[in-house]
Symmetry: C2
Subunit: 167 residues, 2 copies
């Protein structure tokens, strides 16, 4: 789903899910690990690369939420907003990797503080759009992983229909 640009500044992988569960805080001495969970909807793995800026976020959010990638009960493809389904956002720095020999290097990934800012903007705009479209009471929501943490994930799909999206 590449947009034809030579050097993408944001890379996303999208997968449909029936249920997805993500650790947001590992266990420590005080308490067990904390998790978030979504039911039917979409998992969005996102990685910001050098050159990404906040002005790009609304366009990306609009694409992710409005592209017809989700299977409705009738089998037709609809957007996650139309379904309506939930969204689980997973920060995934490994998506920015470049092969060098047998290793993968991440020199092109955005600087961490800026990545965190873009990540929070992305999540907040997903939340705003989804709550506007779905309204209350439908049980759909945006959940998201903790930037910089290990993303311990469990995924249950009726077909992930994996898509690549670059900006």
């Amino acid at each position: 789903m590449a947009q034809g640009s030579a050097a993408p500044v944001v890379r996303l992988v999208l997968q449909q899910c029936l249920r997805a569960k993500l650790q947001v805080k590992p266990a420590d001495e005080q308490q067990g690990a904390q998790w978030v969970q979504v039911e039917r909807g979409m998992v969005v793995y996102v990685c910001f690369l050098k050159g990404a800026s906040e002005e790009l976020v609304p366009k990306i959010v609009s694409s992710v939420l409005n592209l017809r990638l989700c299977e409705s009960d009738s089998g037709a493809l609809v957007s996650v907003l139309d379904l309506p389904g939930s969204v689980l956002v997973v920060p995934q720095a490994t998506l920015g990797g470049k092969v060098k020999g047998k290793s993968v290097q991440y020199h092109n990934n955005i600087q961490k503080e800026m990545g965190l800012r873009l990540y929070h903007a992305f999540v907040a705009q997903c939340e705003a759009e989804l709550s506007k479209a779905a309204g209350p009471g439908l049980g759909v929501l945006v959940q998201h992983g903790t930037y910089g943490n290990r993303q311990v994930l469990e995924l249950d799909t009726n077909g992930p229909f994996t898509h690549l999206l670059e900006f």
Copy 2:
């Protein structure tokens, strides 16, 4: 992990797993659905695009199996061959999509018969390399989905560490 080429002919997404389970035959009147399963290792989603040829397969297999993407017990990154871990290959035509308005088009995906041939070559060479490296008795194996089917998938990870690989 793009290789800098303008028009990739093979696109793969790699995710680490602790366990992954894939439906290879849906239920029918005679019997329930059939599944394959791998334990610790790697899920390889693969999509062949127009221009892909069988000569490319050994190079792709070598990259997938030898790149240091897997976390060993000590936390060091090693290849799936070194781990040694299992590999679950998932044919994933949706990876070849291109955004057009709110839809995704697949005009660049390879013709189905050729895609099936490349897919079988890819799986066979993964099997050959993994059994050569791991030897018998270690319990690692290559499993794969049925080309053209819906890929009903369950995934359990300790961090998917999602990577994009293009050739």
